[in-house]
């Protein structure tokens, strides 16, 4: 501990904490796992400070965990090996908005909603909208390749990162990527760093490309008596060439938890574009839903109706997390055609272990959030809940999918990395070893180093 006090020389007393109460507050994130206290928390304000902290950590081989808002659902920001917790929330400046180039340069601690509020004046936005939009930071989004409901139309964080300033574990500051929208120049290190979960370095400046705000948005809600009918409607909508701004699915258990009249499944659509195009798309979409056995469809006529239609989706997660204290939030993804099969599997597995499970998700891109309703304090129930989680992930992988679409691996999904990536995992391990030979950066996340 005495040595860690040297960090005060870098960040100043006001940005250094070692009181147990502070350390315990940083010992968990939104993942229902164990508590791991760091030995110290520091809040740098400049790239230079980050670099000096990293040099110090490298020299002394002290583990270091970067953290944005700490909203990870996979324990990505939990300092499992103690050491230094690097809180990046003070680096929260929007450095440059370039409306003509549709680009913005930000520090990692900028909050997602704050960025879009600033961009609104220019009729621009950064589309990937995670559920934690009001609080999550851009740095955290880049580190986890986050996304949300709009990914079906606009893609994920990775699609928007043009350039990064990264502080490597030894303190070296690099800039990688380009302001050009296209580049064939060398290895794409930006893509390597996006989604690296703080295991390779710390982002101190992020250049994002932006989109113009859609001119017109409408919302439609379709009810189905069976979830597989809803899922096949999704598949047919995407197959028809329509690209809705969102296609959210809620299953029977979720609808029940929200307290709405019971029905097999619900699909919520957003359509973005010019008014005429949106209206035309709404008609096409309604037709496909009806052809797939939809029992009722409503298209919002105004903003008020739009809000009303979204209520069920907005209420889904809060309703589900109130049932038991430590819900597990699944984040698997499969090719769209396999979505109905995956939902069926979740139900079979949950039934097998006698666990309550609800599904909702970004069905347009094949991302399913299954919620396992469980209480961590009941060891047998918790064990069964873990089994349910494992089996569903394995099915997703069998269907050619992924264990995580947008939350990241963190601690939670490490055990599936070999299964999902085979011998490619060895390349990841080799890259990690090259960039972080002392394994100080967010150790024990994504994979264990031997």
């Amino acid at each position: 501990m005495a040595k860690l006090k040297e960090l005060i020389n870098i960040v100043g007393k006001e940005n250094y904490a070692e009181d147990e109460a502070e350390l315990i507050s940083y010992s968990r994130d939104a993942f229902p796992g164990e508590w791991h206290m760091p030995e110290v928390v520091v809040r740098p304000e400049t790239t230079e400070q980050v670099s000096r902290i990293m040099k110090f950590a490298s020299k002394n081989k002290i583990p270091l965990t970067p953290r944005g808002a700490g909203t990870s659902l996979a324990a990505n920001s939990v300092p499992v090996k103690g050491g230094i917790l690097l809180d990046l929330q003070k680096m929260n400046k929007i450095l440059e908005i370039s409306p003509k180039d549709l680009q913005v340069v930000v520090q990692p601690g900028v909050v997602y909603d704050d960025l879009n509020l600033a961009l609104k004046k220019y009729n621009l936005f950064f589309p990937p909208d995670p559920g934690s939009a009001s609080v999550c930071t851009i740095g955290g989004m880049v580190a986890n390749n986050a996304s949300g409901m709009r990914a079906v139309k606009y893609g994920v964080t990775r699609d928007y990162v043009l350039k990064l300033e990264v502080v490597l574990p030894d303190g070296t500051v690099i800039k990688t990527g380009s302001n050009a929208l296209k580049s064939s120049s060398g290895y794409d290190l930006v893509r390597l760093f996006v989604g690296s979960e703080g295991t390779l370095g710390v982002f101190t400046e992020i250049t994002l490309r932006l989109r113009t705000l859609p001119k017109y948005i409408t919302t439609a809600l379709a009810l189905f008596s069976r979830v597989d009918a809803a899922a096949s409607a999704v598949s047919n909508i995407i197959g028809s060439g329509l690209v809705p701004g969102a296609i959210e699915l809620l299953d029977k258990e979720t609808i029940k938890a929200v307290g709405l009249e019971e029905v097999g499944a619900m699909l919520l659509f957003e359509l973005h574009g010019s008014k005429n195009a949106v209206q035309e798309d709404a008609q096409k979409l309604s037709k496909i839903c009806i052809e797939n056995g939809c029992i009722e469809i409503k298209v919002a006529k105004n903003e008020k109706e739009r809000e009303e239609l979204w209520l069920a989706r907005r209420g889904a997660y809060p309703a589900l997390v109130r049932i038991k204290p430590s819900p597990i939030t699944g984040d698997v993804g499969v090719p769209i055609s396999k979505y109905p099969d995956l939902i069926k599997k979740t139900q079979i597995v949950a039934k097998k272990y006698g666990i309550r499970l609800a599904n909702f998700g970004h069905s347009g891109d094949g991302n399913l959030h299954f919620i396992i309703i469980a209480d961590q304090r009941k060891s047998k129930e918790w064990e069964r809940a873990q089994k349910v989680n494992r089996e569903i992930i394995k099915y997703a992988l069998e269907f050619g999918g992924t264990c995580t679409c947008e939350h990241g691996v963190g601690l939670e999904k490490k055990e599936f990395m070999r299964l999902e990536h085979g011998n490619t995992l060895d390349i990841m391990l080799a890259l990690k070893k090259t960039l972080d030979p002392n394994n100080i950066m967010n150790p024990s996340k994504i994979f264990e180093m031997c």
């Binding site: 904490a17 109460a21 315990i24 609080v135």
Partner: protein, 378 residues
């Protein structure tokens, strides 16, 4: 203090509820203190973790642990937004009650408690509360509970309220022996001491035979409305001045002239989020002025920074938060910010002053009194 022997009795009652916190962090986005301090221990989620860790003996009661629990205005915005429906404010107040019991309160809060116990007010005032009124009736239909701030620091509010009541021609009185409502004690953990004041004030009100008690202070109102029923039986209606004015207007008992002033309204947390009174003061204001909303209003209103013992415990933070609210009002391009709580008025006035802003800060009672007919004055 190493605290393996400490039992957090009040906190223990909330164990199940704290465990429900999923640490999503949504509370961080709305908490005024978190935004000011930034450290995780200052967030409602952090406070829940500190509480659980103390209860489970994962940490000891360090200086920061108890200070973080006191550094909360109890504005309730976190509770409003909480995905898991955790009653953060109640939990924080329970922790304060535990800390208080083991002698771990803030020094300033301890002094205030002593003033309340000795003088019946938190302001070390020995003089009469009712120097602004000539004659007090023993019996009346309605009691105006003045509150400590309006009695001693912001008498314009008390005088204006009395004028409004005169205008309504209602048979009213104020208490000869009013004492602090106990709000400060309850918010800072001195629960047992607060009980005496609840019983005293209710007994004094009962002596007047009043069936209705009106409050110009949001804090006193909340305490009577939500805390007193847990302590003592109440057989009278508890009503805030803004509700009462709204009623009087509807009944045509007061007439107000349009001032053409452009104002905004600041929802006091204890009146808005805690008691759900949003529309009544707005209806009154709209009658006489043009009301422009600030961006953060009603359920999402930004706290003025003074409540929950923060003004006395962390005065600089209270002013910094107050300044943000003044800036909200300036951005709304208004002449005056109107609110319904003397404590908000007090802190916002000080905050405006430290910003060198000439924005008007007025209590609702003061704001409307200038528009009443002359016969109500004096």
């Amino acid at each position: 203090m190493y605290d393996n022997m400490i039992m957090y009795e009040n906190l223990k009652k909330h164990e199940e509820e704290i465990i429900r916190c999923i640490r999503c962090g949504f509370c961080k986005a709305v908490c005024p203190i978190s935004k000011e301090l930034g450290w995780e221990s200052s967030t409602p989620r952090g406070k829940m973790m500190i509480g659980l860790a103390l209860h489970e003996k994962k940490i000891s009661l360090t200086d920061l642990a108890w200070k973080s629990i006191y550094c909360c205005t109890t504005c309730g915005n976190c509770k409003e937004i909480c995905l898991s429906g955790v009653n953060t404010v109640e939990i924080i107040e329970s922790m304060r009650a535990d800390f208080y019991r083991i002698g771990k309160g803030l020094e300033n809060h301890r002094k205030i408690k002593e003033s309340i116990l000795e003088y019946g007010n938190p302001l070390f005032e020995r003089g009469s509360r009712i120097s602004f009124i000539k004659k007090i009736k023993k019996k009346a239909e309605l009691v105006y509970f003045v509150g400590c701030i309006a009695s001693y620091r912001m008498q314009e509010i008390a005088k204006s309220t009395v004028n409004v009541l005169k205008k309504s021609k209602i048979d009213f009185t104020i208490l000869e022996n009013e004492k602090c409502c106990g709000s400060v004690l309850l918010r800072t953990g001195a629960v047992q001491e607060a009980k005496y004041f609840a019983k005293h004030n209710v007994k004094e009100i009962e002596k007047t035979g009043a069936k209705k008690v009106v409050f110009s202070c949001a804090g006193c109102y909340l305490t009577f409305k939500k805390d007193y029923p847990k302590i003592v039986d109440i057989d009278f209606e508890v009503i805030h001045l803004s509700e009462y004015l709204d009623e009087l207007m509807k009944q045509g008992k007061i007439e107000l002239k349009n001032t053409r002033e452009i104002v905004t309204y600041h929802d006091p947390c204890h009146l808005g989020r805690h008691c759900g009174i949003y529309e009544q003061p707005r209806r009154v204001i709209r009658k006489i002025a043009t009301l422009i909303e600030m961006e953060k209003n009603m359920e999402n209103s930004r706290c003025c920074g003074a409540g929950g013992g923060v003004k006395s415990g962390f005065p600089e933070i209270a002013i910094d938060l107050g300044k943000k609210r003044i800036i909200d009002a300036i951005e709304a391009n208004v002449d005056t910010i109107v609110t319904s709580c003397p404590f908000c008025v007090y802190n916002l006035k000080e905050s405006a002053k430290s910003l060198n802003s000439n924005l008007g800060v007025k209590d609702l009672s003061e704001f409307i009194v200038s528009d009443l007919a002359d016969d109500t004055k004096g």
